[in-house]
């Protein structure tokens, strides 16, 4: 066990964990932040996507010890009231079916828009292809990302 100090959603959190623990399980089991989802555990589905200094990362494969001084943003911290342009676009386009993958989709989309505020369709496809939606809401995801980019 190691005590680590993490910068998450603008706040400093101290956790006492095995340093090999993936960030995903630190968030979910130790910090009671369960908006970030477990889907595969091997970085193949994107359900666990969070931001590390604004970049999308798969938290299921990121040992908490590797976070260091980087800032972590989770779905809970993307906006205070759930009104980030990407979140608003997701509601506007009524994207979700079951909704389980959508935290990860939204975090991936928000990271894309940080890197490329006006993404091309090819940018959207490339960047979002790491996130599986089993319900098949991909068309709406594309539309929502395009519409958030205009905001």
């Amino acid at each position: 066990m190691t005590t680590l100090s993490l910068k998450i959603n603008g706040k400093t959190k101290k956790v006492d964990v095995d340093p090999s623990t993936p960030l995903l399980w630190v968030l979910r089991d130790h910090l009671d932040m369960r908006g970030t989802k477990f889907g595969c555990g091997v970085a193949a589905c994107g359900a666990c996507t969070v931001h590390l200094d604004g970049n999308a990362v798969r938290s299921c494969q990121l040992p908490v010890s590797a976070v260091g001084r980087s800032s972590v943003t989770t779905i809970e911290g993307l906006s205070e009231k759930g009104d980030h342009p990407v979140q608003k676009a997701w509601i506007e386009h009524d994207v979700a079916q079951c909704g389980y993958c959508q935290s990860g989709q939204i975090m991936s989309a928000a990271a894309l828009l940080i890197a490329r505020p006006n993404p091309s369709d090819a940018d959207i496809e490339t960047h979002m292809s790491g996130n599986i939606c089993r319900c098949g809401t991909y068309m709406r995801i594309r539309e929502a990302v395009r519409s958030a980019a205009k905001k």
């Binding site: 066990m1 095995d18 090999s20 623990t21 993936p22 399980w25 979910r28 089991d29 130790h30 009671d32 369960r34 908006g35 970030t36 989802k37 477990f38 889907g39 595969c40 555990g41 091997v42 193949a44 589905c45 359900a47 989770t74 779905i75 809970e76 993307l78 906006s79 009231k81 759930g82 979140q87 997701w90 509601i91 009524d94 979700a96 079916q97 079951c98 909704g99 389980y100 993958c101 959508q102 935290s103 939204i106 959207i124 496809e125 490339t126 979002m128 292809s129 996130n131 599986i132 939606c133 089993r134 319900c135 098949g136 809401t137 991909y138 068309m139 709406r140 995801i141 594309r142």
Partner: protein
Amino acid sequence: MDNNKTTYNRRSFLKASVLSGGGMLLTVSWLSSFKSADKVEALNLPEQWASLNGYIHITPDNKVKLICPNPEFGQNVMTSLPMMLAEELDVDWKNVTVEMGPHDHAKLGAQFTGGSNSVRMYWKPLREAGAAARQMLREAAAQTWNVPVSEVMTKAGVLSHSSGKSAKYGDMASKAATVPVPKDLKLKAPKDFTIVRKPTKNVEAHKIVSGQPLFGLDYHVDGMLIAMIQHPPAFGMKLKSFDAVQTLKMPGVKDVFSLKLYEDGFEQGGFDTRTFNELLVVVGNTTWEVMNARKKLVANWEPAGDVKDTMAGRGGKREVIVPGGLESTTSQLEKMQEYAKKPAQQLRKDGDPETAFRNAAQVIERTYNAPFLAHNCMEPMNFFAHVTEEKALLAGPLQAPGWTEPTLVKLLGLPADKIEIQMTRMGGGFGRRAYGHYLSEAALISRKVKAPVKLMYTREDDMTYGIYRPMYTATYRAALDSDKNLIAFHVKGGGIPEHAIHANRFPAGAVDNYLAEGWQIASNITIGAFRAPRSNFNAAAEQSFLDEVAEAAGKDPIEFRLELLKKAKENPVGKNNEYDADRYAGVLQLVRKKSNWGKPGNEKYSRGVAAYFCHNSYAAHVVDIVTRDGEPYVEQVFSAMDCGIVVNPDAATNMVQGAVVDGIGNAFYGALTHRDGAAQQTNFSNYRMIRINEAPKRIEVHFVQNDLDPTGLGEPPFPPVFGAVANALYKNKGRRFYNQPFQPDFKNNLRDS
């Protein structure tokens, strides 16, 4: 057509009560029976559906809370079912809040999500519940104002009278709760709908996008432990012994033990399917600790041999032998080929197919195959359980709590009223979560460790556990006379461990000489309902075959089907034809028009069409394929649906689009194969799922406009996608695709376009 009508034999009693703090709680209870031709066929549904209730809460401050009785797995019932209540209650949707109901068999009825039945089964009862409440509010206002009730009007939650008097529902709610419940209710005509048919946003959307802990895996109580099960590495194996010494030394570990799920002779219901009975369990403090500790287990497995299961059933219990052995996909395919040659069970016969085939000018024979499929719900199987001597609390994702509760009663020895099952939002279901073994496992683990426990499956546990879509094959034969008329049709279908044949569906009824047969091979690989069970293979094979027959007959594939449907309507062959030929033709005509089928302007596309009827709704798709980076890509799809009244058009469109994407994904990539009993796909790294760059750019969804009572959409759009994809691939590649998944075969080019 009378075999798909819903009938409510209503012996109703309604109860109203004053909420503590004022207001009205209307409990509407009906004992109803729900009868349908596909009742047992689709999902082994009980013949007698239980009583049905709706809850409406109105508080003095004019808040309206509506309860959703059915579990939500993405089909959007938390929005569509309350819309039906609100329509007749006549409230402003903006003032409505929605809550998932508790599991309460006596009050809320079936509470079953599956078979595309939620909207269909609640359509009448929920509108009646809304209408009853509205009527009682009007009565209360009439008494208060001393005017005839017929003169009291309502609009969007406000009662009014021509004298100028008006009141909000909340003002009258307490009084309304004391009014006798009306006996006769008049429901709105479709032309008067103000909420139903209006695109309405998902009531849970904000919670979803802000990451609130809605799902079973998010359920948490203080002091909760985490449990995982190590199941055998292959179907046909079982636990022999284990050494937990190293596991117990791992940090955070509380206990390691083996546990029997069902005792010998336990009578399994249709949804008690479980693959492994002997559970090797690791319990600890946190997920990561349990995951790591489980890796240190030293387990010895042995062949399970033939296993005798006891199945409960209407005709009494019966014994079933689950065969031992370690199966492989190659040997399964060989075995299927061998069985396909043997005599099979006759499912339907019209005319004299033998003679017709003998006298035919041309006979076309084709065989289609499809593999096992894993459901791969994004949220892996999991359940929370806290079981004590006195009671049990369970919470998590489950499609049919009412079917698992009796199992818990037997396993735990507790009465049903001491077992509480909370229905969380489900991260997908697709039929998988109708099987509650993981809930029973969680309950037994909690009882053993005497603590609240969350059982969770990793993705690998989930994907390799079984309860798959079965492995199917079918051989179709068509006989054409010298004028290229279809004079006989024969299907012989088989599967592991069941076949897919729906003998009374199209083209049955449209061909004079018809024969349907089925056979099956027992297996230790467990199966379960998978989005449109059986139909999902039938539509692929049959619709692909009909395309080939149409071509042989020199006819346009839509025109060919329409001619058959005309015959089925005007001069039907045989009995028990399950489909309505007009509605079937209707979706084909609509998709033909909307896709500009056969018209100039679509030359860049390889086009394929297919249609199907299942779960009481009709679907047709035109799939347009282009070659992109050397491989076929479905660029756009046109869909036509007939599900009667479309309760929530935007959500319905979303559902159809999702089913199309799911269909393309499974047709192209879906496969769960085995080697020596072990699943060869274990995670999304080797089980290919369709991704955003492979999804069509456009899926245009159209609905047949009519005022028929609504039917479901979760399943019906899915099956014909496979057939339309196969038919478009034929145009693209110049050769037919008979074996799913199709994508691995793209490279074997005969004539690439």
